[in-house]
């Protein structure tokens, strides 16, 4: 098992190094930040001064090493657009994204799992079929469209929930969180549902197909032949076996949620790192883009690791063969 963890860690490091390489290459070889920041009418002196300040005149190898050294200590350079250190800007906005991602993950996983199990057990039921058909529309619906229509329905027409922004926040251990206030929570509902809906349908469909697969196995047939109740078979046996593959995908879905937060945050003007990123893309703010890439890389790699380790907790076959 230790060997497995070490191998996994090695792979994670490899991915991070690759992402870091892309991140640095972007940082270094792309665009003309000076022109981006000053516009085409800048004087030569202005340019020279700014180039010096951003360290763009140093040899590449120096810049490369400096990039990694700085990245390690959370310094990702200065945002071309905001003129502030990227690390600071990202750290400032990260809690907003994480709390949103967490809430929508909870929504997606809990509802997705319940509906998936339900539609598998009641395979030919009317409600189950209806849910399955609707979910196909859900998969085809682009996230931003869901957001726009939720705003249209619940903010514009019904006036129940705010259409943009984060609402009130309350500080916990020095971090401002919207989830702690009623107003903030209300502001979170629409973005969280928007963000989670797609993942929810995916999890539901996955749980359903896995569950159906498991229900076809010999050991379920044997359990039925022993006269176990449908309830014991569904929840005592089938659901447990469904968990193993579902956990991987569900874990990876959390990564996707962070990525899809870009879209949701943009629709709801939620002040998280996703909104920061999309603004960076449209203004070609390279330091922010490369730092965001690294950040997401770290998040994804961490999630992958956690998912792998979770396997051991669930599947007894692995913990024995790995020992």
């Amino acid at each position: 098992m230790l060997a497995f963890i070490i191998r996994r860690l090695g792979q994670a490091l490899l991915v991070l190094m690759a992402v870091g390489f892309v991140s640095f290459s972007m940082f270094k070889f792309m665009g003309d930040p000076v022109e981006n920041m000053l516009g085409q009418e800048a004087t030569v002196a202005d340019r020279a001064e700014l180039e010096e300040r951003l360290g763009l005149n140093d040899p590449i190898i120096v810049q490369y090493l400096r990039y990694f050294q700085r990245a390690m200590s959370g310094d990702f350079g200065v945002s071309y657009r905001a003129g502030l250190p990227v690390g600071e800007v990202i750290l400032d906005r990260l809690p907003a994204t994480l709390e949103l991602a967490l809430l929508s993950a909870v929504f997606a996983i809990s509802l997705g799992f319940v509906l998936g199990v339900y539609t598998a057990i009641r395979r030919d039921g009317y409600l189950a079929n209806f849910i399955m058909t609707t979910s196909l529309i859900g998969v085809s619906l682009p996230t931003f469209l869901i957001g726009v229509f939720l705003i249209w329905a619940f903010s514009v027409n019904l006036g129940w929930l705010p259409s943009f922004g984060r609402g009130d926040t309350r500080s916990l251990f020095g971090v401002d969180l919207a989830i702690l206030t009623v107003d903030g929570l209300k502001s979170m509902i629409l973005p969280a549902v928007t963000l989670g809906l797609y993942q929810m349908t995916l999890i539901m469909r996955l749980v359903r197909s896995e569950m159906l697969e498991v229900l076809r196995t010999d050991y379920i047939r044997f359990a039925r032949a022993r006269g176990l109740s449908q309830r014991a078979i569904n929840f005592g046996h089938a659901m447990k076996n469904t968990l193993v593959p579902v956990i991987t995908v569900t874990g990876l879905q959390f990564g996707s949620i962070v990525a899809f937060a870009i879209i949701t945050e943009s629709v709801f003007q939620w002040p998280g790192v996703g909104l920061l990123f999309i603004n960076a893309v449209s203004f070609v703010d390279i330091p922010v883009m490369s730092a965001y890439l690294l950040l997401v890389g770290v998040i994804f790699v961490t999630i992958n690791l956690v998912v792998d380790l979770l396997y051991f907790a669930i599947d007894p076959r692995l913990s024995v063969s790995g020992k």
Partner: protein, 324 residues
């Protein structure tokens, strides 16, 4: 009593099935066509897709107005409701007009054109890239295979839409600012294409590795066929089915990715609005009540994405019954 059969042919025992040459024909005749005829949802979605494609291709013919010709625009026509005639100009608009007085139906048809163009070209690009890399990976193997598959693994770690956004940002950074709008569509196509190649490569690689070991490929070697001719002429035809399925599903993904990027303002430029751009424009008017500017482009996008998705799902079920 006896087994009741509808078709006489299928009542024959299995060993007397038709010869391999006509197996394909038989199979298309029976299974795919049979399933197609029997699923109204698929008939409707394929016809919807066809109609949308025709509408996009012939948009200059079908459009009642030319929405992107500044000369023909009349600001007086702005915010005309659907199914009504403008009070000032007397022009009739089936789906209303937007803030600029552009006919919504016409902008949708032109937007559809952009969306489909980007989607189709991006998928073709992804397919070509993926198939070539997959063939190389699977057939030649070695360190080349290692490198290609590691890149694929790392890319698969990230959602493709994020990869596309990032690539778009990079692409935009590489292009001089004054050319950005002009090149935006191509940057978009390459970004989306690059974000979708992995599935193709993996599938082709897997199939190639299986085929490589088969006797006819070994025989091809013996009679001196070149690597590429074996790959293209003998291995590739065996993976057409899966490639077709992935292409269909990728098309839906590409269309959604394009719409999303354009909606977020990092895709098609304002001068060449796609469906996503139109939806972004429409969103600004939901508070003031001009719902049609948002609704019609959204429905069009939904119809497009849904019809391709449904068709892809069906195709996958038919070509690979194991996944059902």
């Amino acid at each position: 009593m006896d087994i009741q059969t509808k078709k006489g042919a299928s009542a024959r025992p299995e060993f007397s099935e038709a010869a391999p040459a006509s197996t394909w024909q038989r199979w298309t005749q029976s299974d795919i066509w049979y399933s197609y005829k029997r699923s109204p949802v698929i008939i409707v979605s394929s016809l919807t897709f066809l109609a949308l494609v025709l509408g996009a291709v012939f948009s200059p013919l079908f459009s009642p107005y030319t929405p992107f010709d500044p000369a023909s625009l009349n600001l007086m026509n702005g915010f005309t409701k659907p199914l009504s005639t403008n009070a000032f100009t007397g022009d009739y608009f089936l789906l209303g007009t937007d803030d600029q007085g552009r006919d919504v139906l016409s902008t949708i048809l032109f937007g559809l054109r952009i969306s489909l163009f980007v989607g189709v070209i991006a998928v073709l690009f992804a397919m070509t890239l993926g198939v070539v890399l997959g063939l190389i990976s699977g057939y030649i193997g070695g360190w080349l295979d290692g490198v290609i598959m590691r890149i694929a693994d790392i890319q698969m770690t990230f959602p493709s839409i994020m990869v596309a956004m990032l690539l778009y940002g990079i692409g935009k950074g590489l292009i001089p600012p004054d050319l950005r709008d002009e090149m935006a569509i191509w940057v978009l196509i390459i970004s989306i294409g690059l974000s979708e190649w992995v599935q193709f490569a993996r599938t082709v690689r897997g199939a190639t590795m299986v085929e490589r070991e088969k006797e006819y490929v070994q025989a091809g070697h013996l009679i001196g066929l070149s690597r590429w001719s074996i790959m293209l002429r003998h291995i590739l035809p065996n993976v057409t089915g899966p490639i077709l399925v992935i292409a269909t599903i990728s098309l839906a993904l590409a269309i959604i990715a394009e719409a999303t990027l354009s909606f977020l303002g990092v895709g098609a430029p304002k001068t060449q609005p796609s469906l996503g751009t139109l939806i972004n424009v429409g969103r600004q008017y939901i508070l003031s009540g001009e719902w049609w500017i948002l609704l019609f482009p959204s429905l069009t996008l939904l119809a497009l994405a849904l019809s391709v998705n449904l068709f892809g799902d069906w195709l996958r079920d038919i070509l690979n019954p194991k996944l059902r």
